[in-house]
């Protein structure tokens, strides 16, 4: 489905802060894949996601989705293919607008927005049904301003918005990292539900190595702008956290020193 071919990206080229975030990265994502991405700080995980979604431009290489060349396509144009959930729970929703208005915006992702009504009655019924599966009582508060909700609620809402219209791919950037453990689990479970139900191709960055092993059918490990290790199928299922650490040392040539990852 998605071909990431020889992609490189450098930030602040030619200055003291120059950093090559991605170095000739190659990755082939199939329909239905659920790939977890792990790595230390500065490994290039978020950059990879942002390259795919179009937040950053690509210096070298090609990005092709189902035959469509995305390499030079602006972010908002690509949005029709991707559903995104960010690490910051406040970033995925508009706080001064109501829950149903946010959902209505998501419902029209990728479509032309004209002068017809922003929400219709039949839409509201759809939203109510969808919200009720979140089990947060939000279906009874559809006209509440999103700014009044908690971080976990907003993140769940963002997830729902990302999958309301089935995207070609779901991009999750450490989307449970900023939540408390209880809410994080809830959102993660929700992620499982939604992705499996609709067979959505997913790319998930996570700092939780146990989660990285448990979820998904493929795992990639990044370091210094490169993919240094990949596992899928049985090999992935039988991995343990120590294995990952050892693999890291082998392929990166140094120890994986990252408190969040080690203590997760």
């Amino acid at each position: 489905m998605l071909r990431i071919e020889n992609i490189s990206k450098t930030f602040n080229a030619g200055t003291i802060n120059e950093k090559q975030a991605l170095k000739n990265v190659n990755l082939y994502i199939n329909d239905g894949d659920y790939i977890t991405v792990i790595g230390g700080n500065g490994a290039g995980k978020s950059t990879l996601l942002n390259i795919i979604s179009g937040v950053h431009t690509i210096d070298e290489g090609e990005l092709i989705l189902d035959g469509i060349k995305l390499t030079k396509m602006p972010e908002f144009k690509r949005a029709q293919y991707f559903g995104r959930v960010f690490q910051d729970p406040l970033m995925g929703t508009a706080s001064s607008m109501e829950i149903e208005e946010n959902l209505a915006l998501a419902y029209r992702r990728g479509k032309f927005r004209g002068l017809s009504w922003a929400i219709t009655q039949s839409e509201r019924r759809l939203y109510q049904t969808q919200l009720s599966r979140l089990d947060l009582g939000l279906e009874n508060r559809m006209t509440t301003k999103v700014g009044l909700l908690s971080g976990g609620q907003r993140q769940a809402l963002t997830l729902l918005m990302a999958t309301l219209v089935k995207p070609k791919m779901l991009l999750l950037d450490e989307h449970t990292a900023a939540l408390d453990p209880k809410t994080a689990k809830k959102v993660q479970d929700l992620t499982q539900e939604l992705t499996q139900e609709n067979n959505i191709t997913t790319l998930m960055i996570t700092h939780n190595m146990k989660d990285a092993i448990k979820y998904g059918n493929r795992l990639i490990m990044m370091h210094d702008g490169k993919i240094i290790y990949e596992a899928s199928g049985e090999e992935k299922k039988s991995l343990r956290v120590e294995d990952l650490l050892k693999k890291f040392e082998q392929n990166a040539g140094s120890e994986l020193v990252n408190d969040r990852m080690l203590l997760a």
């Binding site: 908002f76 949005a79 970033m91 208005e101 992702r109 927005r113 004209g114 508060r141 976990g152």
Partner: protein, 317 residues
């Protein structure tokens, strides 16, 4: 007493025509979160365009509408400067405003253009109301402001309008949802400056001339009106009511000035200080309110209960 009410009504009439400016400023400043200084230029542009066309023999209503359209072009310029050339919002507005000074001079073929004794939109109403200048101005003020508020209310309920509101609130999310934020910003600036130009066109017709300096201070008047209007409204008001209060803010502002002028103690030169004081009071009101009412508000308790309920609902996990 009658004469006093009469002068208040006169002030209110002025306030109504300037309310269009306030609504334009409200749209960019509050909804899009963009401080747009083009206002001083587009206000004059509206007046200059309308007056020049009317003097040239074009029908007044048509002239006024064309003034609105020309105003949208001014907004387009600022929008393009900001979105495509990445010029910061305030600077983009200033640049357009400066450029418009020359444009306005060209339009009026000089620094000023008068339309005394020619039919304007206002005189139509005067003929209808049988020569009461005051009431004619009130009627047309209410009519135009009413129509504009209705249109704004309808527009922001549409998909496009919703996209604009979202852009002002969370741009990053918008792009992730496929909204072309460059375009929404430009569209908002166009609508806003169109309204501001419309305000200038109406004011020029009311005062009988357009002058190159008529826009000076317009942005301050607009912001003051918005802030005064907001001081009196509650966040829970429906959108259309909020718009009405913004218009009301403009009317209140003019009425306060009228009252001050009527009181012979004050000098008209105190006006600028007074404007500053009014705006300060209006801004301080909400803070004073919370300070006085404080943390015992029933509303806060209700809010916290609702949030807790949301969390507890997932206790079984």
């Amino acid at each position: 007493m009658i004469s006093f009410l009469q002068s208040i009504l006169g002030g209110a009439n002025q306030g109504l025509l300037w309310a269009l400016l306030a609504l334009g400023v409200f749209i960019t400043y509050r909804i899009l979160d963009f401080a747009d200084l083009t206002a001083e230029g587009s206000f004059t542009l509206g007046g200059a365009t309308a007056v020049t066309l009317i003097v040239a023999g074009v029908e007044p209503v048509l002239s006024t509408l064309i003034a609105f359209l020309i105003g949208t072009i001014a907004g387009l310029c600022t929008g393009v400067l900001h979105t495509k050339l990445k010029i910061p919002p305030i600077l983009a507005g200033i640049l357009t405003m400066i450029a418009l000074y020359s444009v306005n001079n060209r339009v009026m073929e000089g620094a000023y253009k008068g339309i005394s004794r020619i039919n304007t939109v206002i005189t139509y109403f005067e003929n209808l109301m049988g020569n009461s200048k005051m009431l004619a101005n009130t009627m047309i003020g209410l009519l135009v402001v009413g129509i504009v508020i209705a249109l704004i209310y309808w527009f922001f309920g549409t998909e496009k309008g919703s996209a604009i509101r979202a852009t002002g609130n969370n741009e990053k999310m918008c792009r992730a949802l496929g909204i072309n934020t460059d375009n929404t910003k430009i569209l908002t600036l166009m609508i806003s400056n169109g309204l501001i130009a419309l305000s200038g066109a109406m004011v020029a017709q009311q005062q009988g001339y357009a002058d190159i300096s008529m826009g000076i201070g317009a942005i301050v008047v607009g912001l003051a009106s918005v802030i005064i209007g907001e001081a009196f409204m509650s966040q829970k008001f429906p959108f259309w009511l909020k718009l009405c209060f913004i218009a009301l803010g403009s009317v209140i502002y003019r009425i306060i000035i009228t009252i001050v002028i009527s009181i012979d103690i004050f000098e008209s030169s105190d006006m600028k200080l007074l404007t500053a004081v009014i705006v300060i009071i209006a801004l301080a009101l909400p803070k004073l309110k919370t300070a006085v009412i404080g943390n015992n508000s029933k509303k806060r308790k209700q809010q916290e209960a609702v949030l807790a309920e949301g969390e507890d609902g997932n206790a079984e996990n």
